[in-house]
Symmetry: C2
Subunit: 335 residues, 2 copies
DNA sequence: AGCGAAGATACAAACGTTTGTATTTAAAAA
DNA sequence: TTTTTAAATACAAACGTTTGTATCTTCGCT
């Protein structure tokens, strides 16, 4: 393995000059910088990252912590973040928490041991407060939260505009003439779900519809819970459901089908997240799309700007978009 | 940050003893080992991984390189590998190649710079040989290939039993009475697809059916290609398709639907990989399932055993399983 | 020519761990 | 008690980089 000293020797300079040259420091003359970087590639030099990290006190690695990598939202967000981080010389270490706070702590400890430069995190649903996050992050490490955030924690936060997304989605159902619209809401310890609930309520209120707690279902947003909630919603006279997740929407959708209820004629469904499967069902499932790739990009950018001393990124809100598909369209398009 | 020397000082021993104690070396007395590890947790010691990696020449990190993390197969394989690696004190750094050899080289270079202990890789479809892999891996680094492998490269290989999976899938279609069975095959530079093609051909031959190259489609296995191939297959009189991927199966399935052809009565479809969406379509799409979680586990285990000097893991074949669903079942179940 | 100020490079220490070798201590044998 | 052996720990160097400080050039200016 060729080191910085090998290059130094072969050119008759010192390792420090080589180091500075490769880092692009203004302290080394342009001509020598060029000579050094040329022989570096010639000799096949590759930086020893552990050595660099040890000396600098932190690595060129950014940790990304998410509940699961096989959700459309998270894998896209990761891709977005990865792309901009790679462009800036950082590599990425991805950790799954499987929605468990215990695994989240383990992941953060690992990242801490590896002296990562930053952590981009969307916390597990079982994490009820951000205490364990702050405890397992070094003060120099830059923390960026995205999607699911604890607003009491410091640092940049990239979030969906859940309130308005939910509002628009609910409004869309009302516009399509649905009268009794229920909501599969998720658990209220996650801010994102609370915002969606509030958007839903606001949309109803604005259109003069009373909020009925009997048709709001607080449960995990997986297919099975959606199915159950769907059945109950139908029993309670709902003719539409706005779901905080696509898998719960799928459950409700299948429940309606199993009851022999026609979608969208007799029952409207709209989910959230724009998972791939929603587009290929027949009828296709409407969904409130996020922009996960963009959110990942923004999170990475927030990390990069936070690297600079005086920066202060704060909260960034990314819009959501109603993808109206067959499952909620019973009026002819007017355009 | 508390270091090994801090612990040493507080106990009146030397750093080397602490290091050995924490590593569980037999060279330190049991009683001192206990005392050391106790004060270590008491003082909140956390190993500085970069320092450790620098000294040892390699890190406690394993790189996993896959085409995309949002494919059911890969995200499950990653989960499997992650689980067993974490149990053994390794963390995981995940790289996506987006099927591009260029990105694959970048990923390998990054892993090399980080002195990873091992690389688990499923190569990009545009990687035509393993040369660039060998070139960008240090000789001490353990290379494990899984799913898509280059058999000319050394080291453990964990593969699906693609031949028999394809054989069984094709056989299943024949058994269901389909007479003219086409194949969407993928590109032949990936061994997995070649094996599937051969399994398909063998099944036909064994049942006395001639192989017809006109109904074998060599194209990328995405939805769009599947749709096109599906149309052509129908024109050429096929009454069933075995597809090397689920997305191409989906394309063909939609093509048949668009042509007003009934599935499974007039046209049978079976895909490969058991993606989530195949289970929720109506009719549900049959698929030849792999065991990705198991493959990930095996790959990680192969890495761990390769750590031992005299080990020689070789090739491991993991079976596949036909998940017969509505899209290929037109006879009543006989059991 | 002499002086001062940048400009360019050299020097040297440090980051925290691991590990081969040397030394001390304890136990066993004589 | 002395000698031999083994067990336990101490010593010290090394891994490759980065970075503050020191030294040496080079140039422009008077």
């Amino acid at each position: 393995m060729v080191t910085i000293s090998d290059i130094a020797k072969s050119l008759g300079v010192t390792p420090s000059t080589v180091s500075r040259a490769l880092a692009g420091s203004p302290r080394v003359k342009e001509s020598t910088r060029k000579a050094i970087s040329e022989t570096a590639v010639l000799m096949g030099y590759e930086r020893n990252e552990p050595a660099s990290s040890l000396r600098k006190g932190h690595s060129n690695v950014v940790g990304i912590v998410v509940p699961r990598i096989n959700r459309a939202f998270f894998s896209s967000a990761i891709s977005g973040a990865e792309t901009v981080l790679n462009e800036h010389g950082y590599s990425v270490i991805i950790c799954q928490t499987h929605e468990k706070m215990e695994d989240e702590i383990k992941a953060l400890k690992t990242l801490k041991s590896n002296r990562v430069a930053g952590v981009l995190i969307s916390h597990a649903s079982s994490s009820l407060s951000g205490d364990h996050i702050m405890k397992n992050i070094r003060p120099e490490t830059i923390l960026v939260q995205f999607d699911r955030v604890f607003s009491e924690l410091p640092g940049p936060k990239i979030v969906n505009d859940n309130f308005h997304g939910a509002y628009e989605g609910t409004h869309h159902l009302i516009e399509q003439g649905y009268k009794r619209i229920g909501h599969i809401a998720g658990f209220m310890d996650t801010e994102a779900y609370l915002d969606r609930l509030n958007g839903y309520k606001q949309a109803l209120t604005d259109m003069g519809i009373d909020v009925d707690e009997n048709i709001i279902f607080y449960d995990s947003i997986v297919e099975e819970s959606g199915y159950k909630a769907g059945k109950t919603a139908i029993e309670r006279g709902c003719d539409a459901l706005y779901c905080a997740g696509d898998f719960s929407a799928l459950g409700a959708y299948l429940a309606a089908k199993d009851c022999g209820i026609r979608i969208p004629e007799d029952f409207g469904v709209i989910g959230t997240a724009n998972e791939f499967f929603t587009t290929i069902m027949s009828p296709a499932i409407s969904s409130i799309a996020q922009h996960p790739y963009e959110i990942g990009r923004r999170a990475a950018q927030a990390f990069l700007t936070s690297l600079k001393p005086e920066s202060n990124v704060g909260q960034i809100v990314v819009s959501m978009e109603v993808m109206a598909r067959e499952s909620s369209l019973r009026k002819k398009e007017k355009r």
